[in-house]
């Protein structure tokens, strides 16, 4: 009888390598998300301004990011920078730049929505109590905004984790790529390995993303306003 494909997983360092690959995935997603949150907050505040030019530019940015596939962006940054600017960055750096570029736009839009969703009277009653603009934002508006934002932001993070599988194409060895390497290496001894390895990767993604998606649900309930 032929060996079960799952055995491949326990040959040598294969299983550990998969986790290492997942770590690369997570690192890219989490670092990009951290930048996106910071920049997105700033962008969101700018987007609520009434200046037409500002609105036009931010709108254009948001739409561009949404229309372009992330893959195109990755190629543009990774190969474009190397060819035209002579900058040789690592695939991971390029990935973080692209995901931050994307995440900032999405996050900015979320922040804008959350800020607009805060009723005008909230600003007024804070002002009526003698708070200045800074105090109003710090004690009243931002805490509410964060509560509104947390669930969709966590959602964005899980989307980002999943989308990182694209970075394979600019040479970053993350979890899917490691899986592919393992499958290729054992193609002749264990032809069924593919199913097993991808199955394990599926479960690994699930293990990472499921808690986030639960967290998002839980936050939504907890901070219901």
């Amino acid at each position: 009888m032929q060996d079960l494909g799952i055995q491949v997983l326990f040959q040598g360092r294969n299983f550990i390598r998969l986790w290492e690959g997942l770590w690369v995935t997570l690192r890219i997603a989490v670092i990009s998300m951290a930048f996106s949150v910071l920049l997105g907050f700033f962008l969101g505040m700018v987007m609520t301004m009434h200046n037409r030019a500002v609105r036009c530019i931010t709108r254009l940015y948001l739409e561009t990011v949404r229309i372009l596939p992330q893959l195109v962006l990755l190629f543009l940054v990774y190969f474009g920078a190397a060819k035209h600017l002579g900058i040789n960055m690592s695939g991971e750096t390029a990935a973080i730049i692209v995901f931050t570029f994307w995440g900032t736009a999405e996050m900015g839009d979320l922040v804008r929505g959350a800020l607009i969703a805060t009723p005008r009277h909230q600003y007024e009653s804070a002002g009526g109590l003698g708070m200045n603009t800074l105090q109003t934002y710090f004690y009243v508006i931002i805490p509410q905004t964060i509560r509104r934002l947390l669930p969709p932001a966590v959602n964005l993070l899980t989307r980002m984790i999943k989308t990182t599988s694209l970075v394979v194409l600019i040479g970053v060895v993350e979890v899917v790529k490691v899986g592919k390497q393992i499958i290729d290496a054992s193609r002749y001894q264990t032809p069924t390995a593919a199913l097993w390895i991808y199955g394990v990767i599926f479960i690994m993604y699930f293990i990472v993303c499921y808690p986030f998606s639960r967290l998002s649900l839980w936050l939504e309930k907890k901070y219901e306003i």
Binding site: G128, L129, Q135
Partner: protein, 250 residues
Amino acid sequence: MNEVLQVKHLTKSYEKDEPVLKDINFNLQKGEVVVIVGPSGCGKSTFLRCLNLLEPIDEGSIVLGGETIGRKDKNVHQHRQKIGMVFQSYELFPHLSIINNILLAPVKVQKRDRKEAEREALALLERVGLSDKKDAFPRQLSGGQKQRVAIVRALIMNPEVLLLDEITAALDPEMVREVLQVVLKLAQEGMTMAIVTHEMEFAKAVADRVMFMDQGVIVEENTAKEFFAYPKTERAKQFLNTFHYEALEI
């Protein structure tokens, strides 16, 4: 005379040449309760919002305790602390518990000692019958309860004058009473107030003076007794009649 608030020749328009307030003159003595009544859109809410410096004014002046105040003043935030305001939609801060809603401004803005402020907050909550709700969140309270908390939140700043803008308009009839009783009690204790309301019975009970506004001007001003019993102008009579259904002939 002990004048807390003086308004001289106040004019305000949202759009050009369409003034919502025209040449309003208004005085408020210490301990006096003035109720402002009038049909919807007559400018009474805008007037209160101007007093609290929420709306810029076009002409005229607002004098608080002898000092002319305006939105552009450097110490506009200090002025506002002296003018408490309660809105129709209560606007408690949804992310804070009741006690923190009340304490936010005294502790963070007035820099008062939290312990001392908390004692006062609890005493005020007791007075409005809500001391058991101090750790609840706004979403757990009924409209009437929220509005009483909003009043406490304004009171703890020790304002020189309290502005109430249709504070019962969004409430169920049964809750109106519990809120208005709190206001009546405040009036008896000598709180200076300017109140906009549609509750005529309440106006009768609480007001020292009634100001009737229509289309941005003060049409009639009188003591509460006189105004409700013997309105002088035709417009005021008309307005008061709309509250008497038996007067309608079908």
